[in-house]
Symmetry: C2
């Protein structure tokens, strides 16, 4: 009995809260993917998660805030599944290899419907709803982009990137093409494609001998 | 009387058609910018343009087709205003200068509300409506991108771009960052920014001396 009790502990309040929180995140991501941002409501999220809407309003002021945290949580889950505490860009001393590795992981993520469908729905709304768009960028995109800034700064210190390069612009040479192909269906995405972007960005399109 | 008649000629059927066509394009672009793609209807376009909806159905099978042609027409108008028959990328023999020039013109266009508001609305719908998104890319984006492909191919023949570079990928190093900053509010856009993208793309982030 004691062993069984420890295997199936009575739910504590914290554990119930954690379960509700997870259910709310899952419901919010599923709903926005299915019906889009404008038709996603706190009531709809509550009904799908099996909680009262007051439970949601107690923790979050708006559906935008619920969704932002749901995405942050999804990113943390993915990082944990990959055996990391959070997303990092490794520094092996080989910038090209490190960038190719993290972009290949991004390709995998963009092809994962759990991530892709709600991301696309939120990005679409962000295009025409400037306030939401800017919040999406500040809370979800910019922190990831800063990891590239840090890695490029380290590469500058190691002499692998020219000292006059602005890392915040430089990262866009490989990040933005991938984002545009994925978001706007402008072309296929693959490891070979992102590897090529890194090579072009690091070595340039012009001949090295000129 | 004769002079007055020639100054105010009786509208011909062709001229009436042209006037209706222009009114329909203007109405379609204004509506999609104001209410978004899903709530733009043939009826709404007809009412705003002051034509019967049968007039629209006689010329176009769907609102998507009306909008695509309205955008193509808008691009042609802009090119004519700039004194060109259609958009071209000049070939002065200086690839960097030619790319910077056309990207500066694109910055101007992206900051022009006549173009920007309906483009943003259509792009937003294209993110979540894959069929429309692919049509938008095939009819509106890819023809413009092919101009960069042609210019980069000429640069390869002139020895300004490495022969092993794929021009269709290479153009994304400067086109996609600008598109993403504009669409997703990920950063400010300016001539200085697009000039920098061209320099980074052509010369690479890595030191040339390594």
């Amino acid at each position: 009995m004691a062993a069984q009790k420890s295997a199936q502990p009575a739910p504590s309040s914290a554990r119930r809260s954690e379960r509700s929180r997870r259910a709310i995140y899952d419901a919010a991501l599923a709903l926005v993917a299915e019906v889009g941002y404008p038709r996603t409501t706190i009531e709809g999220i509550a009904a799908r998660a099996g909680v009262g809407k007051q439970t949601i309003y107690r923790w979050w002021p708006s559906k935008a805030e619920v969704l932002m945290e749901a995405f942050l949580d999804l990113g943390e889950q993915a990082a944990q599944e990959a055996g990391q505490e959070s997303y990092v860009i490794p520094d092996t001393g080989d910038l090209a290899a490190d960038l190719k590795g993290v972009l290949r992981a991004t390709v995998d993520q963009l092809k994962d419907p759990r991530f892709a469908a709600p991301s696309r729905a939120l990005a679409a709304e962000g295009l025409v709803n400037e306030e939401l768009g800017r919040e999406y960028v500040a809370k979800l995109m910019e922190p990831s982009l800063q990891l590239y800034v840090d890695r490029l700064r380290a590469a500058q210190e190691a002499g692998e990137v020219r000292p006059d390069v602005d890392p915040r612009i430089a990262l866009e040479l490989f990040v933005s093409p991938l984002a545009q192909r994925w978001l706007q269906y402008t072309g296929p995405i693959s490891y070979e494609y992102t590897d090529t972007l890194v090579d072009y960005a690091l070595h340039g399109l012009a001949p090295r001998t000129r």
